[in-house]
């Protein structure tokens, strides 16, 4: 098994798809010569040339929309939106167009478009470059939402996203790009809508996404010292959601913590809590606990930023609360 960083894994999926398939191309701000603001597309201009690795003007709406038009016309574009905060500029095209074209046309059209974007706090980028907005897109029928937390998942899920016939918003977490991990020798898709159980346990289920998967795994290890056995589930695809795996896990453990970096209020955790309390009502020994950012924009000063975003210790505290140990 070769080891790749999360960054390389993403690049690998794109490059391999572009080698195999002329219809795949990438566009975005500063993705060509510079290789993207996170270095994800580095080297791709040299391999594929400027027709297929396209620097764009600062026009988030138009580049997402051009991706839609190209997708509708038979291509499989990958559009990079530099920070997910800038998705706020492209919501109309994504929500009113990409998500609805197929439906409004009564099935005449498909939109095989992948939007890659990234974000996440923990390095003081400030309030306009750090929020996590994945929850919004779960409220939009017609879109799929992926959030990968490991190199292997990133590669496999991106592959599936590119070849999916629907618009997929693919979230990457800024702090994971240098994370190294094994990937299968042969690139292959990972079915969208299948969770990964990172670790099995008996007492508490943590459902975590993105960076928080790693914080959850740390918390799980610490909990083990206390004799609490924790299962960690990463849904990986937030829409469609593998409710079955999550609910089965909670039915087994009877406790649930859901953890993400996004603001708790109206975050993905709300949906998970709502599903779990519904599907596992008779199994729950404690309320579902939610872990996420406190209710504020992301502050600049590191001490405040640290305070706002969640860490392993917050996950651990939530786990302990579900065990009645706080």
């Amino acid at each position: 098994m070769p080891a790749l960083t999360y960054r390389e894994a993403i690049r690998d999926a794109m490059s391999e798809a572009m080698r195999r398939d002329d219809d795949v191309f990438v566009m975005g701000e500063d993705i060509a010569e510079m290789g993207g603001s996170m270095g994800v597309t580095q080297g791709m201009l040299d391999e594929f040339g400027p027709d297929r690795v396209r620097n764009t003007p600062i026009s988030e709406m138009a580049i997402v929309g051009a991706g839609i038009g190209a997708a509708v016309s038979g291509m499989r574009p990958i559009v990079e939106v530099m920070y997910q905060d800038f998705m706020t500029l492209a919501m109309e095209q994504l929500v009113q167009q990409a998500a609805k074209h197929r439906f409004m046309s009564g099935g005449q059209i498909k939109v095989p478009l992948t939007i890659r974007t990234q974000g996440g706090a923990g390095w003081s980028p400030g309030a306009q470059h750090a929020q996590q907005l994945e929850a919004w897109f779960l409220h939009v029928p017609g879109i799929k939402v992926v959030f990968a937390s490991t190199p292997a998942d990133a590669r496999g899920l991106l592959w599936s996203s590119i070849y999916d016939d629907n618009p997929v918003v693919f979230f990457e977490h800024r702090t994971l790009y240098n994370l190294k991990g094994d990937v299968p020798a042969e690139i292959d898709g990972i079915e969208l809508g299948r969770a990964r159980v990172h670790r099995e346990g008996e007492d508490v289920t943590i459902v975590a996404t993105g960076r928080l998967v790693h914080e959850a795994l740390k918390a799980a290890e610490e909990a083990e010292q206390d004799g609490i056995s924790v299962e960690v589930v990463d849904p990986r695809t937030l829409l469609p959601l593998d409710e079955e795996t999550i609910v089965a896990s909670v039915r087994k453990t009877s406790r649930c913590v859901v953890a993400h970096e996004a603001v708790v209020r109206m975050g993905f955790g709300a949906e998970v809590a709502a599903i779990v309390q519904h599907q596992a009502f008779d199994y729950l020994d404690a309320p579902v606990e939610r872990v996420g950012a406190k209710f504020a924009p992301i502050p600049f000063a590191p001490v405040m930023e640290e305070y706002v975003i969640p860490h392993a210790e917050d996950v651990l505290a939530a786990v302990r609360r579900t065990m009645g140990k706080d």
Partner: protein, 324 residues
Amino acid sequence: MATLEEKGQSASTERLKEFLREMLLIRRFEEKVEERFRAGELPGFLHVAIGQEAVAVGVCRALEEGDVIASTHRAHGHTIAKGTHPNEVMAELYGKVEGTSHGYGGSMHLYDVERGNLGANAVVGGGLPGIVGAALAFKLRGEPRVAVAFFGDGATNIGTFHESLNLAQLWMVPAVFVCENNRYAESTPAKQHLPIEDMTKRAEAYGMTSMAVDGQDVEAVYEAARKALKQARDGRGPVFVVADCVRLSGHYVGDPQVYRPKEEILELRKSRDPIELLRARLELADEDWEEMDREATRIAEDSVEFAKKGTDPRPEDALKNVYA
């Protein structure tokens, strides 16, 4: 589609008659729409393009096989001109399975992908970036096809317009942007939403070729569209076409137009109706005109009959087509 056309030569009388026939069909169709809406038969809300038929017909007739369009909230004319049968359009307005979008879309979301209609759009400016993307696909694949966006003067104020034209010119994609400049955005007259008079200036910000044309003169529109399409198709860059035209009805069906002087409408109806203008110009014999009119009326009436006999979707079909 313009298959008959001889390049570089202006439209023959025969062709102009065809144009007239088609414009009249759109007119009679939309009058039916107004009538049926008033009768309470049509759900939702509707926008007719009465007065603007020459733009739809002039542009669509200049298209070639494989070219695509994106339309707007005012979509019936473009859709019929692009080749969708009035029956299918009317059935869509009635929300029937036989409708061009099988009842999922409605008046503002007429799609007919097989005939190159990538969809009408109820978001002002919403269709423009997609047209740039379609044109990019054609360019990347080396296909001699052009993508055309229709939109109004009001749409030139939205950011999407700016970003789309900029991108199209930057990448020199085969796109044509057709602005139907009826000098109203809903109730808002141009002087309240546009700081300029000459709309071709909008293209200067991108260095894009622009053309102004009398949108009430179908032949002029046709000629301008042909030129624009040729430039785009030849790889010489996109074109911005401003068609000055008039909206002879309200913004939406039922609009009392309190914001608009009655005389303005009456005057425009008298002097600027593109169908009357063409009819006069062709010096059509009354009986020819009447036959044409009868035919258009019949097709429009048939479309209502067709639509009414159509099938309602099953309620649970609503959950289909969310994903491919």
